[in-house]
């Protein structure tokens, strides 16, 4: 049953804070986000940095609303410029509304040419900061902005405590003084949003954290990985948590090691995971194929960045769908999933761990830099309640590890726990695991491995379906947020719209998807890559009518609801 499409998107505000190296744009953004949470808003923060390894210019982009948010908006309603050095780098990333003011301190230089038509709000931050011991301009600016936005000063102070608390009392005191200095001189005179409903039960976390949490919920207790942007934070969050939970994280020498290490951990009975990004995923394909052939469950998180090759490590794109679906040599059925938003990372990862365990195969989960590194205020993410576990109990000795069963799933005894010993093998084998080059064994094992993946009852979670209009927007992964919001706008504008957001990409639930598509007259497949990877995949599976259209646009800029609405409108 498709849910109803939520009514027209709630009012929201988007703020960008920019500055050069050391100006503290991200700190200000983080405090603002925490303050917004305290004040009862939902919100989302992304960051962007220049090419320098560290200390280069950076920007924090914050969007908030009394209702949950899943993507960035079309444009920014306020620009807070902490200085103007290298500002041009962010021009493309920060489209301003024509009436959006620029808030800045004229003591720090001229407003750049490109902004000359924006309304200006000038404040003497530098001077005020100088008057405070340890005073910092970014915090004074934040105080000003908070006041203009109508936030209570206490909320900002709570934010300071959250973000800077670990730096000690002196820092916090000085920061609070700065906030107040910026705040006191203002009246709230920017567009104001409907009053939010504060709820202390809400969470503030990143997608990488949510993904890690979901994995732990799914039972993962062993992780081996090699650092890579933008997956590292997921691992960094996991390392101490695993230890507390009686698990372990092993930093591998490379990705070939990490994928094979988790095969070892999983063979030993522990649900196991690795996380990487495109280049690392490429290196893992052989190991993932071994997981498929030896039927050893593992979860591989690919936090996608701009490709191909080294690409743009710090920016988001959805261009690893093809390698995830098709990147294994031989006929190698496996699972591919993608979370639909930051909160959904928790659900999707938990479900993916369970599916991998249940089906004794590899699950590749496609998150991305946007989901992974953005932080959000959201309602606590729900758990996946379906119990999915590994079938361990075997009866026979010698063990028929690759027994032909109706489901295709065979018992997988655990070393040290069962006398039904066996040798797992990536060579083609018979039921007992003995290498075989006979056609009948190959065919039977191929069919078994396919049957278990394709025949499983995945339930309703394979996609989120909302609305029922003849206009149908199909998407996957992190584009889902912008697509959802675009659909709401189209619907609000009188265009009944349906959205189908795929969470389970392989195996494709063909029949369910066909049913969900019934009656759709105009179809758009929307994704953030150049070549329309999902579009071609769906055509390959013969589920799309010939008139379906592809709207595919590569990174590094995020998909925005407005551009989707425009693209759809121009075609219908």
């Amino acid at each position: 049953m498709p849910q109803e499409l939520p009514r027209g998107s709630a009012a929201s505000l988007s703020i960008a804070i920019t500055g050069s190296g050391g100006s503290g744009a991200v700190t200000a953004g983080s405090i603002l986000l925490a303050a917004l949470g305290k004040a009862g808003f939902y919100g989302l923060m992304t960051r962007s940095a220049g090419p320098q390894i560290r200390g280069g210019e950076s920007a924090a982009m914050v969007r908030f609303s009394p209702e949950p948010l899943y993507c960035m908006g079309d444009q920014f309603d306020l620009l807070i410029a902490l200085d103007w050095r290298n500002f041009h780098r962010f021009l493309q990333e920060i489209p301003l509304g024509t009436a959006s003011p620029v808030l800045y301190d004229p003591a720090l230089g001229e407003v750049p040419e490109e902004l000359r038509l924006q309304p200006r709000l000038e404040r003497p931050w530098k001077r005020r900061a100088a008057a405070i011991a340890g005073g910092r301009l970014n915090l004074v600016a934040l105080g000003t902005a908070g006041a203009l936005l109508g936030l209570p000063c206490e909320a900002l102070e709570t934010g300071v405590q959250k973000v800077l608390g670990h730096k000690g009392e002196a820092v916090v005191d000085s920061a609070v003084a700065c906030i107040r200095a910026g705040f006191s001189a203002e009246n709230p005179n920017l567009a104001r949003l409907p009053k939010p409903r504060p709820d202390p039960n809400r969470w503030l976390l990143s997608g990488n954290e949510a993904a890690a949490l979901g994995s732990l919920r799914g039972g993962v207790r062993f992780v081996a990985a090699y650092p890579i942007t933008p997956a590292t934070e997921m691992l960094e969050w996991l390392a101490p948590k695993l230890e507390q939970l009686g698990g372990a994280l092993l930093q591998a020498e490379d990705e070939l090691a990490s994928i094979n290490m988790i095969l070892g951990g999983s063979f030993g009975g522990m649900p196991s995971l690795t996380a990487t990004s495109g280049p690392g995923l490429s290196l893992m394909m052989e190991g993932i194929g071994l997981a498929v052939a030896s039927e050893t469950p593992v979860l591989v998180a690919d936090v996608m960045r701009v490709g191909p090759s080294t690409g743009i490590p710090t920016k988001s794109e959805q261009s690893d769908l093809h390698i995830a679906l098709y990147g294994l040599h031989g006929d190698a059925p496996h699972l591919v999933l993608a979370p639909l938003d930051i909160g959904d990372c928790a659900f999707t990862f938990q479900w993916a761990v369970g599916l991998a365990e249940q089906l004794q195969t590899a699950a590749i989960v496609l998150s991305d830099q946007f989901l992974g590194q953005s932080r959000a205020i959201l309602d606590p993410p729900p758990r996946c309640e379906t119990p999915l576990t590994r079938l361990k109990q075997a009866r026979e000795r010698p063990c028929r590890r690759y027994l032909y069963t109706d489901t295709g799933v065979s018992p997988m005894p655990i070393p040290g726990e069962s006398p039904c010993r066996y040798t797992a093998d990536g060579l083609e084998h018979d039921e007992r695991g003995v290498p075989s080059s006979l056609a009948e064994d190959h065919l039977a094992q191929l069919q078994k491995r396919r049957r278990k993946i394709e025949g499983f009852a995945y339930g309703e979670a394979w996609a989120e379906i909302q609305g029922a209009g003849p206009l149908c927007l199909i998407s996957w992964g992190s584009s889902a947020g912008a697509v959802r919001e675009a659909a709401q706008r189209l619907q609000a504008a009188g265009q009944p719209t349906r959205v189908i957001l795929l969470r389970l990409l392989a195996p494709l639930r063909r029949e369910s998807l066909k049913a969900a598509l019934a009656g759709a007259e105009q179809l758009f497949v929307i994704e953030q890559n150049q070549t329309g990877q999902l579009f071609h995949y769906l055509h390959g599976a013969q589920v799309l009518p010939p008139h379906a259209r592809s709207f595919a646009r590569p990174g590094p800029l995020p998909l925005r609801p407005g551009e989707i609405v425009r693209a759809v409108r121009s075609e219908i």
Partner: protein, 277 residues
């Protein structure tokens, strides 16, 4: 399922029913036997033994044992073993393979396994050739061996010295055995399995088919007379002087073993609390 207490097992009880694919006379047969003798001597429970390997003639060994086994992909046995041992410190983990598997494609994992010093054993059956792919030069092949069509004038590349590299990488136990000396080999396996930490056993295991000249090894091997210096610098000198034919323990040291504890100290619910606003 609780493990049934192991009655006294004989060496042959550790063998599986699967007939080896090895050529008659292949050195790997003796490694298999010596291993079962070591298991029997140490009274190791079969359910607790996990043999891990890559790809190659030598890497086929796990299936010939009636223990747990993981026959993975080429070159990655040590990574699988490291993961398995981290997750399951209670198991007796033994990685096995060939010189191609371990020193060519698997060289990086060899370096890092030596450094990491986890408590498992690594047995390399070195026949100085890629047997499985029909006779190409491996890292341990003599530079002037011209029998491979891939390197018709020989590789011209100095040989990989497994013990010297293991020592430089930080290994804590290094021994050399010979499949023509099954009793000695079996003893080395016993010591290696008992050694707390990463134990590397370099086994000279001739390839009948592609290196028939290795039959002469019987005459060339000799007991190691280096002594086992405790001081790694001194040991390094001695091992660099090794002629590659010395049998015995070349180096043994007690060094810190890497192994996380795996004891739960908190609940996931507590961890989740931290996300609340």
């Amino acid at each position: 399922m609780a493990t049934i207490p192991t009655p006294s097992l004989r060496a042959k009880d550790y063998k599986s029913q699967i007939p080896p694919v090895w050529c008659p006379g292949c050195g790997h047969f003796a490694v298999l036997s010596a291993l079962t003798k070591a298991f029997a001597y140490l009274k190791l429970p079969k359910d607790q033994l996990a043999l891990v390997s890559g790809i190659g003639c030598s890497s086929r060994l796990p299936a010939y044992l009636d223990t747990y086994g993981f026959h993975g992909v080429h070159g990655r046995a040590l990574a699988v073993a490291a993961g398995l041992k981290t997750a399951r410190p209670d198991l007796i983990v033994i990685a096995v393979g060939g010189d191609g598997d371990g020193f060519s494609i698997g060289g990086n994992h060899f370096l890092h396994a030596c450094r990491r010093n986890m408590d498992f054993t690594y047995i390399v059956m070195d026949n100085e050739v890629y047997g499985m792919t029909k006779g190409q030069a491996s890292p341990t092949t003599q530079p002037d061996w011209t029998r491979s069509k891939l390197t018709p004038h020989g590789t011209g590349v100095r040989r990989f010295q497994p013990p010297a590299i293991a020592l430089a990488a930080g290994a804590s136990f290094i021994a050399r055995g010979f499949s023509g000396d099954p009793t000695g080999l079996s003893k080395l396996f016993v010591e290696a399995i008992q050694h707390p930490g990463f134990a590397f056993v370099h086994v000279l295991s001739p390839c009948q088919t592609f290196r028939p000249e290795q039959r002469a090894w019987k005459q060339q091997v000799h007991p190691c007379s280096l002594g086992t210096a405790e001081d790694p610098a001194r040991a390094a000198e001695l091992i660099h002087r090794d002629d590659g034919m010395a049998l015995g323990v070349l180096y043994a040291q007690q060094l810190p073993v890497w192994q996380p504890k795996l004891t739960q100290r908190t609940s996931l619910a507590t961890i989740e609390e931290a996300f609340r606003l």
